[in-house]
Amino acid sequence: MSEKMPSQMKAKELLAYYQAKLDEEARQAKANGKLVCWSASVAPPEMCVAMDIAMVYPETHAAGIGARKGALDMLDVADRLGYSVDCCSYGRVNIGYMELLKEEAMSGKTPEALANSPAARVPLPDLVITCNNICNTLLKWYENLAAELNIPCIVIDVPFNHTMPVSEESKEYIADQFRNAISQLEVICGRPFDYEKFHQVRQQTQRSIAQWNRIAAMSQYKPSPLNGFDLFNYMALVVCARSRDYAEITFKKFADELEELYKQGGSAFKGAEQNRVTWEGIAVWPYLGQTFKALKNQGSIMTGSAYPNMWDLSYDAEDESLHSMAEAYTRTYINTCLENKVNVLLKIMEKGQCDGVLYHLNRSCKLMSFLNVETAELIQEKNGLPYVSFDGDQTDPRNFAPAQYETRVQALGEMMDQAQQTGQE
């Protein structure tokens, strides 16, 4: 590890530094007999962090395995256990990883697939926490983890928002879910809940989110100092460390760097930015470089994506009724009706000054993908932007073909060019 102090690091270095530190802290916690919790990515970590529990995020961990081309080994394990390829590949990668860790713990021997895996080493959990504010897969997946490992499972149940804005009843119900989780944690930890720390953690979370939103706002400038694909990378910390200052420090640094770049007239794009696209859906982690380059080669920069915006979890940290926090955790755009989803996306496209849209029909993620066909048509009716969709998967490389993707991206580029030319005539 470098000798540099965090205060001397660039944002990119901070990102790597804190990611590694979080994993190390989880391993240390395990070694020292402290509790480790595996958590769904948009489940509220505030309660666990207030109880000093080390957090690990399987979705981010699986994304990392995918990006390092290690998904297939984990998927094989899940395949053998009988998980259908139709199940979310984050879940399958993680269940495969868990199974290997479990085998190691029971036999004392490290299975080969684990020893050779490029995955960051994380410890087995002592409890899990999940929330169905982004999908219901996360319920069954975490219940299975808990059942396989015989550990407690905290579920934050969040009703789907068929209408917006979120109703008071719904907020009260979710706030109750938080309170219920608090009493579960008191039993699991064997000590009273630390309300003072809980308050501080909420405040910290809001400071992190404020910096995250500063970054996301940078894509509105033209040329954009922010490459949307960077958000996919920095997302790791908004997921894993939003309730810690690690996220705040890193995001502040990154936002400062972007502002500086913008002031100097620089752009994230090496070469001329010819058009700007929205990427709807999760990244294709095993092919992150290729998917980015296909766009870059034709002068397209990604300046809009609703996915990283799911972590715009702004709420009033002083609201002790927890209604505000409840509202933040339920309004994630995929937990809302189609109409609201369309509005969220329209705003993102407008803010990013996008010229076209790329929809990822992600075999893993039903909730995001199945609505995309309808979403795309509704959006085009409103803003007239050309769009294409491609088949893919966030972490199962067997469900994505670069050539098919490139053809569609190129066609989108040509349609955007055509629109520009027609506009100029």
Binding site: P386, E406, T407, Q410, E414, Q418
Partner: protein, 263 residues
């Protein structure tokens, strides 16, 4: 001035040479696609016929899945844009295009200037593609070229409803074992391809004229099934397999014109 369009698809390679952006002076089709000797052989055919090689061209533009593998091409464009261009050149009244190739089915909607309004393609599935027909032709032991004549002899087309190629193959096998006439099975296969293509066309919005291109358009049985499924007239481009290459050659010509303007 000569321009060349090369369309290297998944199962065939096509080349068109245009003079001054209007006249086709040479063309070739070889039934071998990307990664094979197909592109080289198609270029060789063009040379033998016209004496012209890529070096004689003012611009070479490539399209199709193999578009990035051709060192002689100065530019690559997607087959969506190339097909749209090629069809509109041949048939300026075209507003909806159905293009069925080896592994793709697409529906493209055009405005009255030939610009693409919207397009949809099949997802990762062979249903409704040339590959689907190839599989069926093998099971039925009927050459692809002969399928149309069987189609037109059918009295009551069988129903082949599965989307999945493997399922449809079993369906066809069980029809065969039940003694269903091959004419009826083949017509059923064509209607199943038509259903897939028409569903895409309906998504882009069917507006006249509807024009079909791509290798599968050579099978007049499929064209007939599509026409009946749509319930409206379907035109087929001249040399439908070459439409993409023709579009590429036209776009190559536009490329030179644009450069000329800006120079």
């Amino acid at each position: 001035m000569y321009t060349m369009g090369i369309d290297v698809g998944s199962s065939s390679s096509k080349v068109v040479v245009l003079q001054d952006g209007v006249q086709v002076v040479a063309q070739a089709v070889v039934q071998a696609g990307t990664g094979s000797s197909g592109p080289g052989r198609a270029l060789e055919q063009v040379r033998q016929f016209s004496g012209l090689t890529p070096e004689d061209m003012d611009f070479v533009l490539a399209t199709g899945y193999g578009r990035t593998t051709l060192p002689m091409a100065q530019k690559q464009m997607s087959e969506i844009t190339c097909h749209a261009k090629g069809v509109f050149f041949q048939e300026p009244s075209a507003r909806t295009i159905i293009d069925i190739g080896g592994q793709d089915v697409k529906a493209i909607s055009l405005d009255d200037r030939g610009n693409i309004r919207q397009f949809y393609m099949n997802d990762k599935c062979a249903a409704g593609t040339g590959r689907f027909l190839e599989v069926m032709s093998r099971v039925l032991e009927v050459d692809l070229e002969e399928m149309a004549s069987y189609h037109f002899r059918s009295q009551s087309p069988a129903s082949v409803s599965s989307t999945c190629t493997v399922f449809a193959e079993s369906e066809v096998i069980s029809l065969l074992s039940k003694g269903t006439p091959k004419e009826d099975i083949i017509a059923g296969v064509h209607f199943s391809v038509a259903a897939k293509a028409c569903a895409l066309a309906q998504r882009v919005g069917v507006r006249s004229e509807v024009v079909m291109c791509g290798g599968v358009a050579q099978n007049s049985g499929v064209a007939d099934a599509i026409q009946r499924e749509l319930g409206q007239r379907l035109l087929v481009t001249h040399d439908p397999q070459l439409t993409g290459a023709l579009g590429a050659a036209l776009l190559a010509y536009e490329e030179i014109m644009r450069k000329g303007k800006s120079a």
